[in-house]
């Protein structure tokens, strides 16, 4: 499967030692590089050298639905935080809940409770929580100016990424510190947010480079929908960190870490703090193959005053070897071991009999990619994963890519992915009301996908992906016959969904670019025989049937940028969790963002941004059982970016 979990970017090439390669490998290279050599010097600058098979591969050849957000896209979006940046990906659903909380998913199941089928990685480190199989976005941030790119893959990533990459993977890759030398100051003042970031990069010794950063941000309260909602969700966050890169002859080493603390200063609703530290080593083997090893630790605390305190400590180790088995293939294999200590101390009756759980995940994967014909490439792999909460899960994957013509690729795939049980699935209990579910097992997906990606005209590129997903063993809240309570979580829903994602980039002139994106989703779920669900499908999330966006980026005069974005999101219709009545929970909405950027001097950039301009406020999500609904406001911001 062609996905780029651990993208250690530019390093791979540095690892290659000289020496005589076997004849077979030379033959393989001739096949692989023939296309590149024929490109003109202008076209060479457009070759994307990303890794979607966890190894360098041209994006144009990846048989998967992958959208890449570049550093330039991030800068020109004016986005203030990571979830806002992710709105750029047409294959994601992003909904803001209040001052600090977001929910994000791919291909459906969006809600804080239901978005448990998406894996998020920052430089190879998983930020996914084993408590609920979800991501607590308020505890995830990366200095936006440090991001090299974000690869957003919709669809299963099970083979290379493992469990929980069921409906997608978000892979955030930060820049090598040699690319962020010197000082940068990035400050924003706005009607809703204040944020400042400072970064300094330097070369402490030959072959080494280091950057240090600190940032602080504050987001205002959002206004509640319900009169009874007392929550003041203003959000303050401080974060700092470093990245050290060291290049040696055959090796490159990266050490990076962050610390953060956040709080809701207007009212003590939620507090958090945490740190992470990870080391990565890439090594070139004499024969030309490469291997990569990464180890990390991560500690994360969330405090919900008078409700609960969660402390999650994780240590992970992963390794990968890129090589070839015979003359025209690429073979990747590797493994991962992760240990988490998940401690959840509840101050209410809903909690855990054993607050502290030790969880292990271990997996091995292999993938081989080879040409059946000159233009036909088959990629097949399997991941075998074992975790404390599940038996061994097998995640096989088969992908076929047909290079119809130079810049036209058709691809199709069939794959299986699973979501392993979370601590909540297995152990959550409330005496007399909810029983723990020691037999809850993995949710499963079989996905069929097909797509086209190519260059229709020299200035027009298009990607279209279609999918059909079959889910089994999704979560229900099962009742006890006659007395109804106690309830128990069970695997009881099967479902189908189908849909598509498409995006296009069109260069109207050399100073005006348009990007269009859209997705649509149709889904049906039903209970398995004998199963019931007392929450009326709350575990299925709230999804709009369609989303569409268009972005325009203009540079009409030297040093000036005029950017605009329009997004239109369909209404969310779902069953009310308490009454079971189907109704529109969130209305359809359309919003517009505008930005004017001016490069005042070669080192100073000033931009004025307006977000959500069409309405004073709008609602993006509505599930009072998780967060009381609050409106997303219109906002204006002024940004100064200075390099020294």
């Amino acid at each position: 499967m062609p996905f780029g979990k651990i993208r250690w970017r530019l390093l791979a090439g540095l690892l290659l030692a000289g020496g005589v390669l076997p004849e077979g490998v030379r033959a393989q290279q001739q096949v692989a590089s023939a296309d590149i050599e024929q490109l003109s010097i202008e076209q060479l600058a457009n070759v994307e050298i990303t890794s979607v098979s966890r190894r360098p591969e041209s994006l144009a050849q990846a048989p998967a639905s992958i959208f890449v957000i570049s550093a330039e896209d991030i800068r020109r979006s004016g986005a203030i935080n990571l979830p806002e940046v992710l709105r750029l990906a047409p294959n994601l659903e992003v909904a803001r809940l209040n001052g600090f909380a977001y929910t994000i998913s791919a291909r459906g199941f969006n809600s804080p409770e239901a978005s448990n089928k998406l894996l998020v990685l920052i430089d190879g480190r998983s930020v996914y929580s084993p408590l609920a199989s979800s991501v607590f976005w308020e505890n995830v941030d990366v200095p936006l100016a440090d991001i090299a790119r974000i690869e957003v893959i919709s669809g299963p990533g099970g083979t290379l990424y493992g469990a929980n990459a069921v409906n997608g993977v978000i892979n955030i890759v930060t820049q090598d510190s040699s690319q962020t030398q010197g000082a940068l100051l990035d400050a924003t003042v706005g009607t809703t947010d204040v944020k400042a970031m400072a970064r300094y990069g330097f070369t402490p010794w030959d072959g080494g480079s280091l950057r240090l950063y600190g940032q602080t941000s504050h987001a205002n309260n959002t206004s509640p929908v319900l009169a009874i909602d007392p929550v003041r969700s203003a959000w303050a966050r401080n974060q700092g960190g470093f990245r050290l890169d060291q290049k040696l002859d055959d090796d490159s080493l990266t050490l990076q870490g962050d610390i953060f603390a956040n709080s809701t200063p207007a009212m003590d609703v939620e507090r958090g703090r945490g740190y992470d530290l990870s080391g990565h080593w890439s090594h070139a083997l004499e024969s030309g193959s490469s291997m990569e090893l990464q180890a990390y630790i991560d500690g994360n605390t969330r405090i919900l005053p008078s409700l609960a305190r969660e402390q999650l400590d994780t240590a992970g180790l992963q390794a990968q070897h890129n090589t070839a088995l015979w003359w025209n293939d690429t073979f990747i294999w590797g493994g991962e071991y992760r240990h988490s200590k998940e401690a959840f101390y509840s101050q209410t009756i809903i909690g855990f009999a054993n607050p502290v759980t030790h969880l292990d995940v271990e997996n091995l994967f292999v993938q081989d990619s080879f040409k059946l014909l000159d233009s036909l490439k088959l990629t097949t792999g399997i991941k075998i994963e074992n975790s404390s909460y599940s038996n061994v899960d097998f995640m096989p994957d088969l992908r076929l890519a047909w290079q119809v013509a130079d810049s036209h690729l058709l691809w199709a795939s069939v794959s299986r992915a699973v979501r392993t049980p979370s601590k909540i699935d297995r152990e959550l209990q409330a005496p007399g009301f909810l029983l723990p579910a020691p037999r809850f097992h993995s949710e499963k997906l079989t996905a069929y996908e097909a797509g086209y990606r190519g260059q229709l005209l020299q200035n027009l590129s298009l990607s279209v992906s279609l999918y059909y997903n079959q889910y089994d063993d999704l979560r229900t809240t099962f009742d006890t016959p006659v007395t109804v309570i106690p309830l128990q979580l069970r695997n009881g829903i099967i479902g189908d969904s189908y849909g598509g994602e498409a995006w296009a980039k069109y260069a109207v002139t050399d100073w005006w670019r348009l990007s269009l994106g859209a997705n649509w989703l149709q889904r049906t779920e039903h209970l398995k025989p004998g199963r019931r669900d007392q929450t009326f499908g709350q575990s299925l999330g709230q999804d709009p049937p369609y989303q569409a966006q268009i972005r325009s980026e203009m540079n009409p005069f030297e040093d000036w940028e005029f950017d605009a974005g329009l997004r239109s999101i369909g209404h969310v219709k779902a069953r009310d969790a308490t009454t079971g009545n189907t109704k529109v929970l969130v209305g359809a909405y359309t919003e517009v963002d505008l930005r004017i950027g001016w490069r005042a001097t070669s080192t100073t950039e000033i931009s004025l941004e307006g977000f959500n301009l069409l309405h004073q406020r709008h609602l993006e999500f509505n599930d009072p059982s998780t967060y009381l609904p609050q409106y997303v406001p219109r906002a204006f911001m002024l940004n100064l970016r200075k390099t020294l």
Binding site: R9, L10, A12, G13, L14, L16, A17, G18, L21, P22, V25, R26, Q28, Q29, Q30, S33, I36, E37, L39, S40, I41, E42, L44, A45, N46, V47, E48, I49, R55, P56, E57, S58, S70, A148, R149, D176, S178, Q179, T203, D206, G207, K247, D249, L285, E286, S287, G288, S289, S290, M291, L293, H321, N322, T323, A324, G335, E336, Y337, E362, L364
Partner: protein, 176 residues
């Protein structure tokens, strides 16, 4: 299970096998011979009127054969394009384009110093602190290059405006 995983990881560390050159270096290998037609060397740079334009890779070879493939069949005017690999800078070899790979930083800096004022176009890899006449860089996951036309001019080498227009950044003649 844990012990088995760790055993497997240590096995990975011990295994050596084959793989291909990364796409990044395939692209760089494709660039090098394509620079040549845009560059005009003084006649004194060549040993004879028919001598080829020689691309020399000094130190570590990151291309693993790709460069010969990319250069084969290409010509610059009447001159063929040849590729040579030098373990270290060698003044007895006539090179018109010298690529300094991701190897020894000190060798790169020494070579750049030695080449200043000579009719040689130095090309430095991305990630190297030292920068030649042409220096590769990775921008937003694409391979781009900067050109230092000032240093090229010191060696009597002219770089066409077409190539300058394709560069990510250009240091013009007369600029400090």
């Amino acid at each position: 299970m844990r012990a088995r995983i760790l055993a497997a990881l240590s096995l990975i560390l011990a295994t050596g096998a084959r793989a291909d050159v990364s796409l990044e270096y395939t692209v760089k290998a494709a660039y090098l011979p394509k620079f040549v037609p845009f560059i005009t060397w003084p006649e004194t740079a060549f040993t004879s009127p028919t001598a080829p334009v020689t691309i020399c890779v000094v130190g570590t070879d990151p291309f693993g054969g790709k460069l010969e493939q990319a250069a084969s069949g290409l010509k610059s005017g009447e001159r063929a394009i040849a590729v040579r690999y030098l373990p270290a800078p060698d003044p007895t070899v006539s090179c018109q384009l010298v690529f300094l790979g991701p190897g020894d930083m000190a060798v790169a800096e020494g070579t750049l110093d030695a080449m200043k004022g000579k009719p040689v176009v130095t090309v430095t890899d991305s990630g190297l602190k030292a920068r030649g006449v042409i220096s590769f860089l990775i921008e937003a996951n694409h391979v781009r290059f900067d050109i230092d036309a000032a240093t090229a001019a010191q060696g009597g080498v002219a770089i066409s405006s077409k190539l300058l227009s394709l560069a990510h950044a250009v240091k013009q003649r007369g600029q400090p």
